[in-house]
């Protein structure tokens, strides 16, 4: 692609990451396009929801006619296999490839091949440490900061200015975990209060999170707030099992977590829910199509953080008290015309399918 100057197309939807974000433009190709999604790991709720969103969005009237062929493959946590799959789709003559990278590095070769063949490669969610491709993500550093700031504000409102904060980290070695943790820690440090941050590793997994939070409570007694990166259902479960008083909690956007906030916010569970949305895949697909049509695109597209605090939870709108806990509530992005809500794909019952 050529590096051009902005502004880009559809800025409502494709918001540039920052003022410095450069813009890219591919030569316009006639549609419809062949688009592939190369997923890595499959086997957790988020990825399943992401794949379902991708499938549903490919059928969405707004884009259906622009897609000639659509394929999703999952390669597991296997870097060579993912690189191979991307290269294979380039070889097969696909026009755009949307991917969640298994590692933030190592894509130089496929980027080079994609450029050579005028293929649009769009990493999202786990993005690459490079500015050579167009990427779609939420701002993880900002997410960490907002979580921490929310906790600080709630504590201040309670008059607490010092104490232990429990930070639940994600998968070690992952850049998302790193960025969020930096955001959290720098915010607490900047506050100047006497905060002692206790970190435990929950791997973004409900079960592990529940166990490590329970352990931390057993050892440290009480925390003033819990800032969890993921596995938020596990945080709530551990707090409630331990009889820990409800305190401000920051976490992701699982339905179960939001249900708990809505239910117990009166008792002190002042929660904030910001999640990485599986709906990102739809925006990445849309961005790919837009790039193929020859539009000017920001290199790094920032998807706004879907923030909801205990103040704005509303049953049936941003959480569903009668639905299972495990799906991610934030799925749709109206400015982008991505209107596939979590319940609409994750809460179909068998009956609905008929």
């Amino acid at each position: 692609p050529e590096v051009v100057s902005g502004p880009g197309a559809d800025p409502e939807c494709f918001a540039p990451w920052s003022a410095e974000t450069k813009y890219m433009q591919w030569p316009a190709k006639p549609g419809p396009y062949k688009i592939a999604v190369v997923n890595g790991f499959v086997g957790n709720g988020w990825r399943i929801q992401m794949i379902k969103t991708a499938k549903a969005f490919a059928e969405d009237p707004s884009i259906k006619d622009k897609i000639a062929e659509f394929k999703v493959v999952s390669t597991g946590t296997d870097a060579p296999a993912q690189l191979g799959a991307i290269e294979d789709f380039i070889n097969q003559g696909y026009d755009a490839i949307v991917t969640i990278a298994v590692a933030p590095d190592g894509f130089d070769r496929v980027i080079r091949l994609a450029d050579k063949n005028n293929v649009v490669l769009v990493p999202f969610d786990n993005v690459l440490d490079t500015d050579a491709v167009m990427q779609v993500n939420e701002d993880q550093l900002m997410m960490g900061r907002m979580w921490a700031q929310f906790a600080l504000d709630e504590l201040k409102a309670k008059g607490v200015t010092a104490g232990k904060i429990l930070e639940v980290r994600g998968l070690p070695g992952n850049s998302v975990d790193r960025d969020r943790s930096i955001g959290i820690n720098e915010t607490f440090k900047a506050d100047g209060g006497a905060w002692e941050i206790v970190s435990v590793v929950g791997n973004w997994d409900d079960g592990t999170t529940q166990k490590v939070v329970a352990d931390a409570i057993a050892v440290h007694g009480q925390f003033e707030a819990v800032v969890g990166q993921g596995g938020s259902n596990g945080v709530i479960q551990a707090l409630s099992d331990a009889g820990h008083p409800w305190v401000p909690v920051a976490g992701e956007s699982e339905n179960g977590y939001r249900k708990a906030i809505a239910k117990y916010s009166g008792e002190g569970l002042k929660g904030i829910s910001i999640g990485q949305s599986p709906g990102l895949v739809a925006i990445a697909m849309k961005a790919a199509v837009s790039a193929l049509e020859g539009n000017v695109m920001p290199q790094l597209i920032s998807v706004p953080l879907p923030v909801a605090t205990y103040k704005d939870l509303e049953d049936g709108k941003n959480y569903w008290s009668d639905l299972p806990d495990n799906f991610f509530t934030v799925n749709e992005f109206p400015p982008c015309g991505v209107n596939i809500s979590g319940p609409s794909i994750m809460a179909q019952t068998e009956a609905d399918l008929n």
Partner: protein, 349 residues
């Protein structure tokens, strides 16, 4: 049976599993190329070999301890460790790059030696000793590279993951467009690397006394000892070679991705896949029968199967299920032998 006294007939009879795997591979790969829009092209071959190198090396690494009658659960971890080491040291001037590669391979080899020493002098079961050393290797990898990244030289990354033409062109050894060169300029470099290591390291090893001792130990350790073979040396050599091959995998992975990544799940998945590859290649997990070349073929069979998911249409949410079923079917192929067995004692070993 007795009449088949020619060495060739005996070889065929004794390697039926391996031959089966080769035929399976050829058939699968042929059909893949027929179905692929760019089948039978050099680009496709390069892509396919690139993506297979790491698992092929790892399958070869796994084979040697398996021949001993053990399992090396640390091969994936050694690959990860050397991958991280390479991401630090393989950069700079050509001499430094070369030195870095040597250091990387030496790291893998040294870790293999350590495995061997623990197994031999600690008298621990390989499977459990390497489960533990594997954790240590991943830990070390995380120390070296707490987050993915690194600085592997770009040129070498490009040159070694392409065909010979690009290799020559990148380094300008001679005129890459020379007429004499054109007939094999298309050969993928990764393919050459694998062939050179497999036939340059494994085959000679197999024909040394130490190599044969590895087979003897896997088949009957007591008999090997009584026959005056040096068991300790062979065991250490086996794990050393495993470490070396795993180091090759890690080095190539680093070159291929120009970076290092201490990914624990990837390490685990690669270890398990290496065992699957060994089994599909026809090497017995009980030891004594098989070989690294067979595992190379086994690894390729598994890889080619995964290629199919990109050209056939299946529901992406059913893909993991289909993958699992195919794996189960592939490893159960050998079971048809057991259905034919008339003397049930032949089932036990």
């Amino acid at each position: 049976m007795r009449n088949a006294r020619s060495p060739l007939a005996a070889t065929i009879r004794q390697n039926s599993g391996f031959l089966g795997a080769i035929i399976l591979l050829l058939v699968l790969y042929l059909i893949y190329n027929l179905l692929h829009p760019r089948g039978f092209s050099a680009a496709l071959l390069i892509q396919n070999t690139n993506e297979s190198v790491a698992i092929v090396f790892l399958a070869m690494a796994q084979t040697v301890p398996v021949l001993l009658g053990g399992l090396d659960l640390s091969v994936g971890a050694i690959m990860t460790l050397t991958n991280c080491v390479a991401s630090v040291v393989v950069s700079g001037s050509p001499q430094q790059i070369l030195l870095g590669m040597v250091v990387t391979l030496a790291t893998g080899t040294a870790f293999g030696v350590a495995n061997g020493l623990i197994v031999v002098y600690g008298r621990l079961q390989p499977i459990i000793a390497t489960l533990a050393t594997g954790a240590i290797a991943v830990g070390l990898a995380l120390f070296i590279r707490p987050a993915p990244g690194g600085t592997v030289d770009d040129d070498i990354s490009w040159a070694l993951t392409n065909d010979l033409y690009e290799l020559v062109d990148t380094y300008g050894w001679f005129d890459a467009d020379a007429a004499w060169f054109s007939s094999f300029a298309w050969v993928p470099v990764p393919l050459l690397i694998v062939i050179v290591i497999a036939f340059g390291v494994w085959l000679p090893f197999k024909h040394t006394i130490t190599g044969r001792t590895v087979y003897a130990i896997g088949s009957a350790e007591g008999a090997a000892y009584m026959s005056g073979l040096n068991l300790d040396r062979a065991k250490i050599a086996a794990f050393t070679l495993a470490g070396f091959f795993a180091g090759c995998a890690g080095l190539y992975l680093a070159i291929q991705t120009s970076s290092g990544n201490a990914d624990i799940t990837q390490a685990g998945a690669y270890t398990l896949n290496s065992i699957a590859a060994v089994v599909v290649g026809g090497t017995s997990l009980l030891g004594g029968v098989g070989g690294a070349i067979a595992s190379l073929v086994g690894a390729l069979v598994l890889r080619v199967i995964s290629f199919y998911f990109r050209i056939v249409s299946i529901d992406p949410l059913l893909q993991p299920l289909v993958e699992g079923l195919v794996l189960l079917a592939a490893v159960s192929l050998g079971a048809f032998r057991t259905l034919r067995v008339k003397n049930q004692l032949a089932l036990f070993r």
